[in-house]
Symmetry: C2
Subunit: 250 residues, 2 copies
């Protein structure tokens, strides 16, 4: 789907595309157009290889977690089976008391690449979307490694769409806000990232080949907190819309 | 490829198959047969979703790492971009001094599944292969999370083939040996696993949906050690062959 094809004349509609730009298949418009309210958006991307998260990349969040900003980026992986789309339900697993939201800007990779120099990172970025890096704090503390705490099913809401028209500079100056119901918990800006987008993508690609559809989650601002069954959590980023997901018990 | 189709009459040959059993596409033999020496085997599987490792699942290895067996399985993830096949080169990245081998039995998942009861795990296993869970010890210590230390390119040699004819009980009684050159470093048995195959698969599937081609690495016995550029490392498991890979600097 493409929201901006007509320059914004129909802001609440989507146009149907053919092809898959992430697979290198040319994209064409079918001419079909739907009201946004009449369709259900899915996750804009299902990573075929990996989702790399970056821990403690906002200084205020590192502080609220009782730590410092790491001396090099703190990388972790989330599996593609944790992905859900906008409106889909985040499930709090049995045995988890403290399930936290972490609103984040997600970078979508568009090209096979490795050891990308900082100054060429813009060439390998396909676009941006919103991620909620759902985290089971009890498992994060008990397990040590974060695979289960951050990689369980439904722990990676993505969407509602990808924005493919932002420069890195623009993506680094977006307001980011997370609400639970009406209450604002995270109210920051991507300009507060300790390490910027180019540095992060370059660093990750230094050890791991990146593939089209891979995601880099750029970290979360201060204000993380609990989601409880019955809540609805909303992550909003300028120009990327609002990613909303209800929460339920398993 | 299939090594046992003729009951072992041609042990050093392979038969060509059509189809993809992991994708549910029926498999047929073309009748073509090659000498093993005339072909290059690739990784027998490229996971489409995830590789889940289990830390410290052999008591003697937990002890040599200076720790205890964790009270619940210690899970970590490796990306599919870290996979290489038999004979491919393990690359020691720049800045890594201590690159370790960890010979392991790998379980290949054959069905989409979640929350699999222990007694039904055999229904979701497609087969078994050998893995070398290559680990950069310096990064493992400095990073805290193991994504880079265990997830870098070439850090997951797999192969040389899958054995689809083993019961869980058989797979839990295989000798496993890792050599560097002629020197044996790991000499154990899968019977020494703290948690068995059924318990591990059931546990992982409790939080993450498993997909065909996903791998569960079942942990490494005592005796891990360094690989240096110029070495060749060999992991052998009864009935699964020998996975050999040279090591080089980046």
């Amino acid at each position: 789907i493409e929201l901006a094809v007509d320059g914004g004349d129909h802001p609440d509609t989507i146009a149907t595309l053919t092809g898959d730009p992430l697979a290198g298949v040319p994209v064409n418009y079918t001419g079909e157009r739907h009201e946004l309210d009449d369709v259900r958006l899915l996750s804009p991307v299902i990573p075929r290889s990996k989702v790399v998260g970056v821990g403690k990349n906002y200084a205020d969040h590192a502080k609220e977690m009782g730590g410092e900003v790491p001396s090099s980026p703190l990388l972790f992986l989330k599996p593609n089976t944790s992905v859900i789309g906008p409106g889909e339900t985040i499930i709090r697993p049995a045995g988890v008391e403290s399930l936290h939201f972490e609103g984040e800007l997600a970078v979508v990779i568009g090209r096979i690449c490795k050891q990308v120099p900082v100054e060429r990172v813009s060439e390998v970025i396909f676009g941006y979307t919103i991620a909620n890096d759902v985290t089971a704090r009890d498992w994060q503390a008990s397990d040590g490694q974060w695979a289960r705490a951050k990689g369980s099913d439904t722990f990676l809401p993505l969407g509602p769409w990808m924005n493919t028209h932002l420069s890195i500079e623009e993506a680094e100056h977006l307001s980011i806000e997370t609400r639970v119901g009406e209450t604002v918990h995270q109210d920051g800006s991507t300009s507060q990232m300790v390490r910027g987008i180019a540095e992060l993508v370059s660093y990750v690609s230094g050890s791991m080949t990146l593939l089209p559809g891979d995601l880099i989650l750029t970290g979360t601002p201060a204000g993380v907190g609990e989601m409880r069954p019955g809540d609805e959590v909303h992550v909003s980023i300028d120009g990327l819309g609002t990613l909303s997901n209800p929460v339920a018990d398993a």
